[in-house]
Structure formats: structure tokens, C-alpha cells
């Protein structure tokens, strides 16, 4: 009996091994995103965008004669999990390239694993400056670092007549990095920096921080966090009667969701975003933008998610372009090829420039940043 069981086990194992070899008919791309936890909404949008890119590429015959296959793993919005997921994708699934990991703290946790296994990663969302300045040559970022956001915002601070600004930021590398970069830019402009309040990524009640900001003498609050926490902040600010100008950064706001959930409280708020799905004709690549938005709606996803999901779409197209250019699905070849790609992203051309210490530079493309304002429940574009 035991022997028979052993035989069954052997057969099962052999079949599994053959199935594994059959899988090599595809080219795998690892996707490391938060699908549960504090950033579940944003990570899910990015993954859905990534699927659109994979389906589009496969419908056109794939790359190097093979279909691409996304191996999607949930990093649970937790840096420890993000590093574990990266290790699993590289060692067990044998992916030659990754996309991830949404949050700056998540990406920073993955980075040593990329060095260890010499596997490149396309960073689609994270904005902490540290990611491309610490000398990790396996990082290729298509999202803007917060210093680039701050620089883009610089042009409009005079028009807005900012005098004193408070910050309310998520207490991680993303939020603190943003507060630092924006404060530096604003101090140069002669703007006074008031309070810098933080909130835990899982916090649901920000009333204490908002009460403090309500009593300060600043006229503007810069808020940095993802959509779920932002919605709560808008609701709680309204409940406290906070009447200051609110400007959000980071590009994970999904303004339409804020309009839907915060109602009148959203009017007059401004948001720095990295995509303009409301005005496809004003984007750098209108044809591709229209295709993406149509496909997104066809799949029954909410329009609000577009401002987040386009990054997954661009990220997978970036990885696929590099595999094609490399001519083979191997990490070293893909890493070299990433330096030579030039594709039309939904938010500008994706071309990597060197960033960070000499000899071990990371790649950074130069995406656009836009400022939008919500008025009467509608999104309007402001010129920067």
C-alpha cells in the first residue's frame, strides 16, 4: 500500500515537472503588487492595467514567438512580504524580469533581492528619491520621483499665492520623502512650512491630525497618501469643518473616486497626477490612451482606476519591449536592453537615463506631471 502511494506520488511529481517544462513555452514576467492591506485598491488597479498590456501583446502574437505570462503575487502592502514575494518569483517561478512593488517602502525592501539574484525590476509607481539614488543598477523606474513632482509644482506656487503650508503625509518612505522634497522647494520660494503631520499606513482615523491642522495659521495643506486613506481624510476634514486648500501629491488619488465618496468636500481641491484620462487628447500619446481607456471600460472596471492602472500597462509594455530588444528572456540581457528601449508610454516617452552613483546607476525615465483641480464635481486641468 505504501509503495503504491509512493508510485502515485512519483507520477504526480513527474507530471508536475512536465507541466513546468510546458510552461517554458511562455515568457514570464513577475508582478509584485499589494492586492490586500492598506494599498489593495491601488495594487489591484495596477494589476488590471498590466493584464490589458499582456493581452494586447499576446493578441499581436506575443514576443520572440512566445506568449507572455504574468506571474502575479500579492505583497500584502507589507515590505517583508514584498521581499519574500520577489524571492519566490525569481527563484521558484524563474521570472527574468519583475514589475513592482507599488509603494516606496515595498520597492526599497525588494531592492536587495534584485542585487542578490541580479534580476531587473521595472518600478511603476514608487516615488521616493532613495530608490534611484542609492546605487542599485537593477532598478528601472517609469514613475516620477517626488523631487520631480516638486519641481513641476514649483511653477504654480506663485500663481496660487501660497504663504504657509502644512503637510499630512503617510508615515513611510513615500510620505516622508515627499514632505522633504516639497519643503525644500517651497522654502526656496519663500513659503513658510508649518506642521508636518504623519499617519500610519493602516490608520483609519486622522481626526487628531486634522484637528491640529485646522487650528494652525497656514492656508494650504499638502496631503500625500493613497486613495482609500485620502477618501477618509476628505470625509473627516469635512466633518471637522477644515476649510483650507488641500493639494494632494503622489498620483494615487483616483480623483473620480474622491468626487464620488467625498462629494462637495472635494470641490476646490487640487491633485498632482501623472495621467490625464479625462483629456486623452492632451496626453503625449492620445491613440494609445484612447485604446487603453476603451479596453479598461470594456472590462467593466471603474473609470476612477485609470489614473493608477495605466502604470501597470506601461510597466508591462516596458518589460516586454526590453525582452524583445534583448532577443532572449534572460535577466542580464533584459537589464542591458532596458537602457536601449524607447517606447511611447501613456504619460510620455519611456527612455531610461542614468541616476545615482557612477558605475551602478539606476534607470529613471522622465514622465509628465499634471495638476488638476476639482470644481463642481468635475476635473479641470491647471497649467503648470
Amino acid at each position: 500500500m505504501t509503495r503504491a502511494l509512493g508510485l502515485v506520488g512519483t507520477i504526480a511529481l513527474t507530471t508536475a515537472l512536465f507541466a513546468g517544462t510546458a510552461g517554458a513555452q511562455t515568457i514570464k514576467i513577475g508582478v509584485n503588487e499589494p492586492l490586500t492591506g492598506a494599498f489593495a485598491a491601488s495594487g489591484t488597479y495596477v494589476v488590471n492595467g498590466a493584464r490589458i498590456a499582456a493581452d494586447e501583446i499576446n493578441a499581436k502574437g506575443g514576443i520572440l514567438g512566445k506568449k507572455i505570462e504574468l506571474v502575479i503575487e500579492d505583497n500584502k502592502s507589507n515590505p517583508t512580504e514584498a521581499a519574500a514575494v520577489a524571492e519566490k518569483l525569481i527563484t521558484s517561478d524563474k521570472v527574468p524580469v519583475l514589475m513592482g512593488a507599488w509603494g516606496s517602502s515595498l520597492t526599497l525592501a525588494v531592492m536587495p533581492k534584485l542585487m542578490e539574484y541580479e534580476t531587473p525590476m521595472v518600478v511603476e509607481t514608487s516615488s521616493s528619491g532613495k530608490i534611484t539614488t542609492t546605487g542599485n543598477p537593477f532598478i528601472f523606474r517609469i514613475s516620477p520621483p517626488s523631487a520631480v513632482e516638486a519641481a513641476a509644482f514649483k511653477g504654480i506656487v506663485d500663481k496660487l499665492a501660497l504663504k504657509k503650508v502644512d503637510f499630512l503625509v503617510i508615515n513611510n518612505d513615500w510620505g516622508r520623502g515627499t514632505a522633504e522634497d516639497f519643503s525644500k522647494m517651497m522654502k526656496d520660494k519663500g513659503i513658510t512650512i508649518g506642521l508636518v503631520e504623519t499617519m500610519d499606513q493602516g490608520a483609519q482615523d486622522m481626526s487628531a491630525q486634522l484637528s491640529k491642522i485646522k487650528s494652525s495659521d497656514s492656508e494650504t495643506v499638502i496631503v500625500t497618501t493613497a486613495v482609500d486613506q485620502l477618501t477618509l481624510i476628505f470625509k473627516q476634514a469635512a466633518a471637522l469643518g477644515l476649510k483650507k486648500r488641500i493639494i494632494t501629491t503622489g498620483g494615487s488619488q483616483n480623483p473620480d473616486q474622491i468626487i464620488a465618496q467625498a462629494g462637495a468636500a472635494a470641490n476646490g481641491t487640487m491633485h498632482l497626477t501623472t495621467f490625464l484620462p479625462w483629456f486623452p487628447d492632451k496626453t503625449p500619446n492620445p491613440e494609445a490612451t484612447n485604446y487603453f481607456i476603451t479596453e479598461w471600460k470594456k472590462r467593466g472596471f471603474e473609470f476612477a482606476g485609470c489614473t493608477e492602472s495605466f502604470r501597470g500597462y506601461d510597466g508591462i509594455r516596458t518589460a516586454a519591449a526590453a525582452i524583445e530588444k534583448a532577443g532572449k528572456a534572460e535577466p542580464a540581457a533584459i537589464k542591458a536592453a532596458l537602457w536601449n528601449i524607447n517606447i511611447k508610454g501613456l504619460n510620455g516617452d519611456i527612455v531610461f537615463r542614468k541616476s545615482g552613483p557612477e558605475g551602478k546607476e539606476s534607470g529613471q525615465s522622465q514622465p509628465n506631471v499634471y495638476l488638476i483641480e476639482i470644481n463642481d464635481g468635475k476635473v479641470e486641468m491647471k497649467t503648470l
Binding site: 481626526s207 477618509l232 471637522l240
Partner: protein, 290 residues
């Protein structure tokens, strides 16, 4: 000064819900002596019941609350009957491990059914807050505070003034003697766990619409509930209520005047202090130990 008043108002609305979380757990952890790791999941469960009844079935918000309480009661009774009853008499570690397993399984269940993306529930309350001079507070939060106060009062009366409450206290003081006096001990175990669970579900149902609803929402709530129970003294309902307000006050003033980054740490600093200086809780009566 107006900032301080606003912090006090915030403390009141937050403290009411903390107290509700605390009394549910103090019944189970304090009186029954079960380290109940499913308390947070029952909180989450109550919030999702709210979501189903209001958003998916389109029924009335106020009707959804009793539905959530009842559903929490039933789920609590089911947990007691299937997991805890067979383990009665085994040591606290075994029960604790089983409850950890139940917590993980149930949390994964909510993730499997509803997905990881947060849901929100529409409420019939006006968006504009109630403004009283320098302070303002949303109508929804006021309703939550009132409902929490009512539930706390009902629980207090149930435990202290009814024959069921007397039987509960007797059972957990001396199981054998209570049994000899004609108390149906099995029924008492099940109903105590079910009542504690329904209070957790009620807290989730009340707070779900205030915040957003997602599978891990109960984790932080459960940690805070344990903190409140320890603060107030195990099994002490009045202590749990006061403990809830103390935790809320510490968080509000800590975030307002010390540093918002350490908001959640404030409560736990108090717990450490309590454990060092008054290990039986702030409101424990003198006990005979010999």
C-alpha cells in the same frame, strides 16, 4: 483652546467605540478566560454584514444594525459550539492556537468572498457636520456614540441585573458549583461567547460606515480591544468602558500634542505602565489570593 476642545470631542466619539470593542472582549477573555483571536474577525464580519444589507440588498441602514448584531451572535455561537466546546478543560495554549487558526481561516474567508479592495457604505446622515462654536462633529459619529452607549448600558444591565447575568458570573467563578445549583453550564458558555461576539460585530457595523471596510480591518481593532481589556482589568465591564476612553484620550492628545507618528504607540505605553504598576488593571478590586 479650541483645538483642545476639538480633541476632547474626538476623544468622546472614538472612546465610545473603543469601549464597545472592549466590553465584548472582556466578557470572553476576562470572564471566560478564552484568548479570543477571532474578536477582530467578528468586528470585520459585522462591517461586511452592513455592506451586504445596505449596499448589495439596498435595505435600510438602521435595519442593517440589528441584522449585524444577530449575525455576530450566530457566528459566535457557532464558533463556541464547534471549536471551544470540544476543547473545554484543555489548557489555555491549545485553545489559543485553535483561535489563531480560526482567525486566519476566517480572515482569508472574507478576503476570498469580498476581495482585498476596501468597500464603503452609504449612510442616511447629512454630510455637513454639527457645528457647536469652535468644535464640529459629524452626525454619523454622534449616532455611533449614542448607539455604542446604548449597547454598553444593555450589556451592563444584562450582566449585573438579570438571572442570565447572575448565572454567567456564577459559572465562570466556579463551574462545578454553578452546575450543582442547576445552572445549564453549556448554555452559559455558548451564550457568553455569542454575546461578546455580537458586541464585536456591532462595533464593526457601526464603524464600517465611518471608515472603510476591508478584510484586515479587524486586526488593529483586536489589538486595541486587548489593550483596553488589560487596561480596565480582566472581566471588568466598567473598567473596559473607562479603559476605552483612556485609550482614545491618549491617542488624541498624543497625536495632537506629542507626535502623530506615534499615535498608536501612546496607548501601548500606557499599557506597559499599567502592567508594571497595577498588573490587575486600573480598576481591579482587591482580590483574595489564598
Amino acid at each position: 483652546m479650541s483645538e483642545f476642545l476639538q480633541h476632547l470631542v474626538n476623544m468622546l466619539v472614538l472612546g465610545g467605540t473603543y469601549a464597545l470593542l472592549g466590553i465584548g472582549l472582556t466578557l470572553i477573555f476576562g470572564i471566560m478566560n478564552v484568548v479570543n483571536f477571532t474578536h477582530g474577525v467578528l468586528y470585520t464580519f459585522g462591517a461586511y454584514i452592513m455592506f451586504i444589507v445596505v449596499q448589495q440588498l439596498g435595505l435600510n441602514f438602521f435595519l442593517a444594525l440589528p441584522v449585524a448584531v444577530l449575525a455576530g451572535w450566530l457566528l459566535g455561537a457557532a464558533i463556541e459550539l464547534t471549536l471551544l466546546r470540544p476543547l473545554r478543560g484543555s489548557d489555555i495554549d491549545t485553545t489559543m492556537l485553535v483561535m489563531i487558526g480560526a482567525w486566519i481561516a476566517m480572515q482569508s474567508g472574507t478576503l476570498w468572498i469580498w476581495g482585498g479592495v476596501a468597500k464603503s457604505v452609504a449612510t442616511p446622515f447629512p454630510e455637513a457636520p454639527l457645528v457647536l462654536g469652535p468644535v464640529s462633529v459629524s452626525w454619523l459619529r454622534l449616532f455611533v456614540l449614542a448607539a455604542a452607549a446604548m449597547l454598553i448600558l444593555v450589556t451592563y444591565l444584562l450582566i449585573n441585573k438579570t438571572s442570565l447575568g447572575r448565572a454567567m458570573r456564577a459559572t465562570f467563578q466556579d463551574h462545578d458549583t454553578a452546575s450543582l445549583m442547576g445552572v445549564n453550564v453549556d448554555m452559559i458558555y455558548t451564550s457568553t461567547f455569542a454575546i461578546g461576539s455580537s458586541l464585536a460585530a456591532a462595533a464593526g457595523a457601526l464603524l464600517g460606515p465611518v471608515y472603510v471596510i476591508f478584510p484586515q480591518m479587524g486586526d488593529l481593532a483586536a489589538v486595541k480591544a486587548f489593550a483596553i481589556v488589560i487596561l480596565g482589568g480582566l472581566g471588568n465591564i466598567t473598567g473596559a468602558v473607562i479603559g476605552g476612553f483612556i485609550l482614545a484620550l491618549a491617542e488624541e492628545l498624543g497625536a495632537g500634542y506629542v507626535s502623530s507618528g506615534y499615535r498608536d504607540a501612546m496607548g501601548f505605553l500606557i499599557i506597559i505602565a499599567v502592567l508594571i504598576f497595577r498588573p490587575t488593571g486600573l480598576f481591579a478590586r482587591a482580590e483574595r489570593v489564598g
